[in-house]
């Protein structure tokens, strides 16, 4: 079809385009390789296969924003189809006589059915593509969907602030429209023999434009010319997403969610030594750099981020976008010195770094397997090492943890004091063998508001004849939040203290009342040689009921309840069933909140937030959650049942009791630990003396 001169121009342009594309990819790969070693990946072929299936089924993206996800699907399959379409277009251009219209009847020996299918699919997909891209462009530029913007207080890289990502979207949007339209037109202009039923759209256009050889040439050049421009451009824009997202998914975290990557890479290359944590972008693991190229700024992470909800200057998506722009300027832009720029100046503000609750919602929701939370923890690690002036509350908590093993500034010896007020003694696991070592945790050991629940757990264990003990003053904070606030050294110290205490004790498994301790004991202690079977108390309680060691004497059908999944129990460790089964056995009327299980919304206390002195204004995550619970239960109310918000975490008890008060919901809903319901159901009561104290 093309004239020899046109072919010559095409080959030159194709060469240039390929050159720029290659340069783009080489640059990206080189940049990714500047990152530190990441934890080793296992079974890569399997991981890639899994990622391919995930991508083809659009599994991760369909988790939320269902309608938009379907449209994304159209775009995705449209573009996949178009990769093939472009190949055919090129062949039509350069192979004389290669013409697929009219089912390829002009091509000797062409498989008729196959060509028809191709024509139909490419024709219909063109329509889908045009529709999908129009929806996205309308959403971004006409409806100006807020979900695609950032809060005022979020640090943005200058080019991001100036609308760089929007420009990218516009360019790609215009490309898709022009390219697809041009392709359709080139097909339409070819239909010299009237409509082709296998090409309905092209035929329709042909009915308007008629056939034209010049038209074919022009449309072909517009269509393919755009491709030769856009492919190298993609490598330099946020649409590197097209190539990098599937790769990133395949290389996503394989270790347990609850296991943070070490502050210093375990793998050392060429004897290179690393400072713990991240100051500049190349201090991040290579996978964290890859994250930036995979992110297309869909902002789903921002939607689920409790800190962002609370008006804090944190947007996980902005972090990734900023990272990519910084990398682009440092590489394509010729400013390598930017690779040495502190992350807290260029990509995320210190306030944002310190407002993360490490709830994992951003990582869980990310369709492309990014881990912005991991960056934040690494940045915290270095800030602490470099003497960043900490929030005074965090500093005193850490100091107390270092000296007392708890963050409340209480003497170590007072840790087991709560047990003295029980009617029976609790074994000291450091002195006599027990089956269950109960790891109590700080909040449950010291906080006056939680102590009644702690004692109730003891009473029920006692009632069930469970052979259990505690470590009294030998227990230290497990370190989950210490690690997530970035104090890796203190975490290690606490791990060592606890492992030493465990070593002195004889037990078969650990049960804990604290999801945060549960997480680190289960997922992180093994790395330090502490391999134990660790259970959350809801798991043990359920088993005690199932084995008949506890019996429900009274079904609590007079309660209308909902249940909040603690991040570190649910999203991190997948313990969703045990508390729900408990509630079922107890016989309460139970209803899920819209955000449940994996989608549970953080109470706002994790990752050290509970230590922060500062209480910023605005609706707190926990308050929003209480409102969600009230709205959930409202539709079932009216039968006079008492409404309860059930928690299974001491921190939640505090956070949500506060939130009930601050939202003025007292009398409407009450926060209870699941243990209180179990106690009522199995008929264990608090002695009168304590209730009055």
């Amino acid at each position: 079809m093309l004239t020899p001169f046109e072919k010559f121009v095409f080959f030159i342009l194709a060469l240039i385009s390929a050159g720029f594309t290659l340069h783009g990819f080489v640059t990206i790969i080189r940049t990714i390789r500047l990152g530190r070693p990441a934890p080793p990946l296992k079974n890569l072929p399997q991981a890639f296969w899994k990622a391919a299936v995930t991508v083809l089924l659009q599994r991760t993206i369909l988790r939320t924003r269902k309608l938009l996800s379907v449209i994304h699907m159209a775009l995705f399959f449209g573009l996949i189809t178009y990769a093939f379409v472009n190949l055919m277009d090129v062949l039509e251009g350069i192979v004389p006589g290669f013409d697929l219209v009219y089912s390829g009847k002009h091509v000797p020996g062409a498989p008729l059915a196959l060509v028809r299918a191709y024509n139909l699919i490419s024709d219909v997909m063109s329509g889908f593509l045009l529709f999908a891209i129009t929806v996205f462009l309308v959403r971004r530029f006409i409806l100006k969907d807020k979900a695609l913007t950032y809060r005022e207080n979020v640090l943005l890289y200058p080019k991001v602030k100036a609308g760089g990502p929007h420009k990218d979207s516009l360019i790609v949007g215009v490309f898709v429209i022009m390219h697809v339209s041009a392709h359709l037109m080139s097909q339409a202009f070819r239909l010299a023999e009237g409509p082709d039923p296998w090409m309905p759209l092209a035929s329709f256009l042909n009915s308007i434009s008629g056939a034209s050889q010049i038209g074919v040439h022009i449309a072909w050049w517009v269509s393919i010319g755009w491709v030769m421009f856009i492919i190298p451009y993609l490598t330099r824009s946020k649409h590197s997403h097209f190539f990098m997202a599937p790769v990133n998914l395949a290389l996503a975290k394989q270790n347990p969610r609850g296991q943070l990557d070490p502050a210093i890479p375990l793998k050392v290359i060429d004897g290179k030594t690393f400072e713990p944590g991240a100051r500049v972008i190349t201090d991040l693991a290579w996978k964290r750099i890859l994250d930036a190229y995979a992110c297309v700024q869909c902002n789903r992470c921002q939607d689920v981020c409790p800190a962002n909800f609370y008006g804090r200057p944190l947007s996980p998506s902005a972090l990734e976008v900023n990272k990519r722009y910084l990398l682009k300027d440092a590489t394509f832009g010729g400013h390598p010195e930017l690779l040495q720029a502190p992350l807290v100046e260029k990509v995320i503000s210190p306030e944002a770094v310190w407002s993360c609750t490490t709830c994992y919602a951003c990582v869980r929701i990310c369709p492309v397997g990014n881990e912005p939370m991991a960056d934040i923890v690494d940045i915290r690690r270095r800030l602490i090492l470099e003497g960043f002036e900490l929030d005074s509350g965090v500093q005193s908590a850490l100091q107390s943890l270092a000296t007392n093993g708890n963050w409340m500034g209480k003497g170590r010896r007072l840790r087991g004091r709560w047990a003295k007020e029980l009617e029976f003694p609790i074994k000291n696991a450091a002195e006599e063998a027990v089956e269950y070592l109960w790891f109590v945790g700080d909040t449950a050991s010291f906080d006056e508001r939680v102590l009644p629940n702690t004692r109730m757990v003891a009473r029920i264990f006692h009632q069930a004849g469970l052979d259990f003990g505690i470590l009294y003053q030998q227990e230290s904070n497990a370190g989950n939040d210490v690690r997530r606030v970035g104090e890796e050294g203190l975490f290690e110290q606490l791990v060592e203290q606890n492992l030493a205490a465990f070593g002195r004790a004889q037990f078969q498994r650990i049960v804990t009342t604290d999801p945060h301790s549960f997480n680190t004991l289960r997922n992180e202690y093994p790395q330090y040689g502490g391999r134990f079977e660790v259970e959350h108390y809801t798991m043990v309680l359920l088993r005690l009921l199932e084995e008949g060691r506890l019996t429900v004497k009274q079904r609590l059908s007079h309660y209308l309840v909902t249940y909040h999944d603690p991040c570190y129990l649910g999203r991190y460790n997948g313990v969703f069933a045990a508390p729900r089964k408990l509630l079922e056995r107890i016989g309460v009327e139970f209803h899920e909140m819209p955000r449940n299980c994996e989608n549970s919304f953080c109470c706002g206390a994790g990752g050290g937030q509970i230590w922060m002195g500062k209480v910023p204004p605005g609706e707190r995550p926990a308050e929003n959650r209480i409102r969600e619970a009230l709205a959930t239960l409202q539709s079932y109310a009216g039968n006079g049942k008492k409404q309860l918000f059930i928690v299974a975490c001491p921190k939640d008890m505090i956070m949500y009791s506060d939130a009930v008060k601050t939202t003025g919901s007292e009398g409407k809903i009450e926060v209870r630990d699941i243990i209180q319901l179990v106690a009522e159901a199995v008929g264990v009561v608090e002695p009168v003396s304590e209730a009055g104290a």
């Binding site: 005074s392 509350g393 006056e448 508001r449 002195g613 500062k614 209480v615 008060k661 601050t662």
Partner: protein
């Protein structure tokens, strides 16, 4: 060795502090028990020294002593104590006395009791109650030897007994006050504009329990609603969360408001010294064993933020 009891008085801007009168009153009683005299020692000019009920008042009116100079004071006191050999030397456990008492003890090689809450003579022996360990324990000790130094917490004794009109005897400085290593330069008054918490009728006091500088705002909001002003215990000020002018306690100011509303203050003796005379003391603390509940009129074991926020809603 005499049975005299010497009191080192303190004054600032021409006024003696309450503790000076408290000590003089007590010194009189003790001197009588020892069969000696009570001697008030006044250092520095610009003050009327004839205001004590002591048996005698010595006044070293040297201008070098007008402003407190720890070195000059210490040298003069050392010389006079050596000269007079009193049975007991009494200081206030104050920012002035704290610079002098232990130093003198070290120089003289005689015992010193700090944090003294009570001093008495039993069968000729000196017995001192000291409120150490943050007020968690009271130690009763007996200083060995023929001379002792005590540094008493302010507010331990009635001040009235110390007021009198004993004519002061002006004496020259027993030591040369030239060539000191310490030179007094200037007094720095608190920045104008900040409130004087001692004249306020209502105070909201915050302690370590407030958690951080960031939360002071909440207390300020409450104070505003109550028509009060925010003050604080020592740790809060040391941490830089509020200016020194807002500090209540031994090393801060003594206040006597109609309402003293305490948020997260456990009640260390240092703080109690500055506020125990308030007319109505209400304390919120999460520790039900906090000593403040032994002093407050009303108390509640609760989270200070919750109570504050609940009050803000009501006001």
């Amino acid at each position: 060795m005499s049975g005299d009891v010497m009191v080192i008085t303190e004054h600032m801007e021409g006024k003696f502090s309450d503790v000076s009168f408290e000590l003089v009153g007590k010194a009189r009683e003790l001197a009588e028990a020892f069969g000696g005299e009570s001697i008030a020692l006044v250092l520095g000019g610009g003050v009327d020294a004839s205001v004590f009920a002591s048996h005698a008042t010595l006044h070293v009116a040297d201008a070098a002593l007008n402003h407190f100079n720890p070195e000059a004071y210490a040298r003069v006191i050392e010389a006079l104590v050596k000269e007079r050999s009193p049975r007991l030397v009494m200081f206030g456990w104050t920012v002035i006395g704290m610079d002098l008492a232990a130093w003198l003890s070290g120089r003289m090689g005689v015992p010193c009791v700090a944090y003294a809450k009570d001093v008495r003579v039993e069968n000729g022996a000196l017995i001192v109650s000291s409120q150490a360990y943050g007020g968690k324990l009271i130690a009763e000790v007996s200083p060995e030897g023929e001379m002792a130094i005590v540094a008493c917490l302010a507010g331990s004794f009635p001040a009235e007994a110390g007021h009198g009109s004993t004519q002061a005897t002006v004496i020259p400085s027993p030591v040369d006050l030239g060539g000191l290593k310490m030179k007094f330069l200037e007094v720095i008054k608190p920045e104008a504009g900040d409130v004087d918490i001692t004249t306020q009728t209502k105070l909201v006091a915050v302690g370590r329990g407030i958690g951080g500088k960031e939360n002071i705002e909440l207390a300020e909001e409450l104070a505003e609603k109550l028509g009060a002003v925010v003050c604080a215990s020592r740790p809060v000020v040391d941490a830089g969360w509020l200016p020194r002018t807002r500090q209540v306690g031994k090393s801060g100011l003594k206040v006597k408001p109609k309402l003293y509303f305490m948020l997260g203050i456990s009640g260390a003796p240092e703080h109690l010294e500055g506020m125990k005379d308030a007319e109505l003391i209400i304390a919120i603390n999460t520790d039900k064993k906090a000593p403040i509940f032994n002093v407050a009129h009303y108390g509640a074991v609760a989270d200070l933020f919750e109570v504050t926020e609940a009050m803000l809603e009501l006001l």
